[in-house]
Amino acid sequence: MPSGNLGLVVMVLGYGAGAGLSLLAPSDRAARVLTAIGAAIGCIGGLIAASSVLVTRVPVDATFGSLVSAAGGVAIHLDPLGAFFLLLVALVGLPAAVYGVTYTSEYEGRHSLRLFGLMFNGFLLGMSLVPCAANIFTFLFAWELMAITSYFLVMTESQYAETRYAGLWYAVMTHFGFLVLLPMFLIMAPGSGATAFADLRTHAALMSGSAKSVVFLLAMVAFGSKAGLVPLHVWLPRAHPAAPSHVSALMSGVMIKLGVYGVLRVVVDFLGAGPAWWGGLVLAAGSISALSGVLYALTENDLKRLLAYSSVENVGVIFLGIGAGLVLQSYGLHTLALVGFGAALLHTLNHAFFKALLFLATGNVLHEAHTRNMERMGGLIKGMPQTAALFLIGSAAAAALPPLNGFASEWMVFQALLSGVQIPQPDVAIGAPLAIGVLALTSGLAAACFVKAFGISFLAMPRSEEAARARESHWSSRAVMGVLAAGCVGLGLAAPRIFDGLFRIAGSLFAAGSSASPPAVGRLWLAAPNGVAQVSPLLIAVAAALAIGVPVALLRWRGLQWRRADTWGCGRIQQTARMEYTSSAFAEPLRRVFSELYRPTEDLTINVHPDSRYFIRSITYTSAVVPWIERAFYDPVARGMRACATQVRRLQGGSVHLYLLYLSGALMAALVAAWWFR
């Protein structure tokens, strides 16, 4: 058996065993361990299958025609693009599974860990099968498996009303996406019997331009709602905080990326890119997502919601890369287009690593501080220095600081967008610089956002008892986070090599792709062909290490010693946590600059002494950001639904006779219609 097939078998058996055995586990503790063992074996299987496809470049095929034959059977085809996303699932799934063993211990006795194990493994299996699917049934089955199991995982802490509310949003949005997927496949399918992806690909070549555009728009809505593109992102900042942290890491790191996979598969692979306005639309969606994602992240005080909004931002960046690729492809700049798609893939991989790391670190923080509110944290670096260091690495990567991985991919997205300037068309000449500007602003704001996330949570003095008592978590969770952090650094340093590979994967989507050679600028330099600039993360790292290491070494050699002392206290006698910079205060300047976007509500209550108004007893200040983008899109929908429901409710008269009359009337009407139209 070839290693690819073997890997897939191990993967399915591993997840299946994890799901089944954890359900039958004799104790909660056994359930936790079995969940992780099954998931780990499954991930290793996925890793083997994906890497064998990526290395040998020979796709893995398997069909089980007799399985659900009425729907076309189960068909598997793992090509390099699918293998890349399968790799993503396995690379994040493995740390998340190991992390889960200790993280879920606090659920013992409160939630069913057996069902959790079933859902966790089912979730991983669903996510792993999506990129393997080779016909409509298999794809939709895996998609739905992923959606349903993740819904149950989100609902783990269903005792909180907030979680139930998040679950409702998630269920509605994910099924809305599913509903849009069906007509998309229906239009693409050439006939009732031909549901294999190969048939769709050949049929797509024969479709008219307008039919293709309809498929494109449906794909953007369906997969965009999974990926979290604004304005379809509403479920994301609700569901991700509600889920257990390692599930959030999987959802944010991997699941939303399968929306990216869907767009690449359908729009680029099946439809073969398209007219320039497709790219323009993707660029616009990416720009809005990136900018509004980071702006909402900035004002967020809930650490996990902040990370969720940051995922919206990063998905926006990924879509900027895809959009640049689509625009360049439509103008025949094939090699440059592949730079855009490759950059999108690179950012997909990088975001998975640093966002998983950040969510897992946040899980540790949550476990100790017992709150997601950053205003109740602070000073955590003293109790949990290693978690703090790991969170800092993740933050730096998310803020796109070189030489970490976030920098490399955002830089490549910039290169792809800059290539667009070469196209002598007025709309592109205006659109590309706009997108570049948005990306630049996003990167800057993301840096501010993660300064806040790290600084407010980990530095200064603790703002609550729990934060003061915080201690380092179990070594295993720190170990897996260390692996992810090493990945962040390694992916950053090796970015030119990895980008080469991803460029080839993007090229494999096009029939002509094999002819395009990657931008051969050596293993050291990241650059686009004919690009204006090139950069080497490795050399930056060396330079940074020298810039810090040489002076330190010199100073030590000159005989300077480390000195521990109090920092300057601004002349105050006493420092308390109430004097610190708060999360809201940090974001206040930006809140004012972008007040048009945030439309903050402010409420200031000053309670004065009854005898003199110069003696103030207390000041209460509350300010909230109005998510008007959500309201603008969803309030009309909700109102319309409610109005319809109210109208329909009139039918419900409460009288049995009335209902029977409806039935009789419907029968008569059907008979008359049959008689009339005979």
Partner: protein
């Protein structure tokens, strides 16, 4: 005009079944309804047996026997038990009074003939004369269910509706296979049992079997 005995017998039986349904619209005491239903079921069994005899389909004798046992004897017996318990409640004030009900029933029979006409022209079965009558029975049964207030009457209306469907199947397809007929039997039986329980519960809750009271359940 109609020469062969099968057509004549089917026509006679179907008309008799329709007539028994009209009895429900016209009489007000529940014992009369049970009797009407019993007669209707026997006529249905007879029609099925007749179709079986002329169509040389011995399976239909079995169907007729089961019909007779279940709908001709068992369900009327159960109905009689229920009637002994709630029989004192007469269908005093239906939504539609007797005269109007009969007028509507007449209109429905006409409607059934109009609706069945295209069907009659394409079928050559000797039993086709029963089709409009079966449809008419169906409509009249629906009228009973919709216009009468007591739960007992509605149960009988439902059972007659079921008989109408069985008749339609028998005359429209020249005899239904035993298996299909059994499926319908079971459905009807289950429906009847569920409704019987409902009637008992309605009586327990509201001290009457007047279905109008159920309106109070709506908040």
């Amino acid at each position: 005009m109609i020469a062969d005995p099968l057509s004549q017998l089917v026509m006679l039986g179907s008309s008799g079944m329709l007539l028994t349904a009209l009895i429900v619209l016209w009489r007000k005491g529940i014992p009369a309804y049970v009797t009407a239903y019993r007669w209707q079921s026997w006529l249905l069994a007879a029609i099925t047996a007749t179709v079986g005899y002329y169509g040389h389909d011995p399976q239909l004798y079995w169907v007729a026997a089961v019909l007779l046992a279940l709908k001709g004897i068992a369900i009327p017996a159960l109905l009689a038990t229920m009637q002994r318990r709630f029989g004192a409640e007469r269908e005093a004030t239906p939504y539609v009074n007797t005269e109007t009900s009969l007028a509507i029933a007449g209109a429905l029979v006409l409607f059934a003939y109009v609706i069945a006409r295209p069907w009659m022209t394409i079928t050559t079965l000797p039993t086709r004369q029963g089709l409009p009558l079966a449809l008419a029975l169906l409509f009249v049964s629906l009228l009973i269910v919709v216009s009468r207030k007591k739960a007992m009457t509605q149960v009988i209306g439902f059972l007659m509706l079921e008989n109408a469907i069985a008749l339609l199947a028998a005359v429209g397809t020249y005899g239904v296979p035993l298996l299909v007929e059994f499926g319908v039997f079971l459905d009807a039986l289950m429906g009847f049992l569920v409704m019987q329980i409902f009637v008992y519960h309605i009586h327990e809750t509201f001290d009457t079997i007047d279905v109008e009271e159920l309106t109070r359940l709506r908040h």
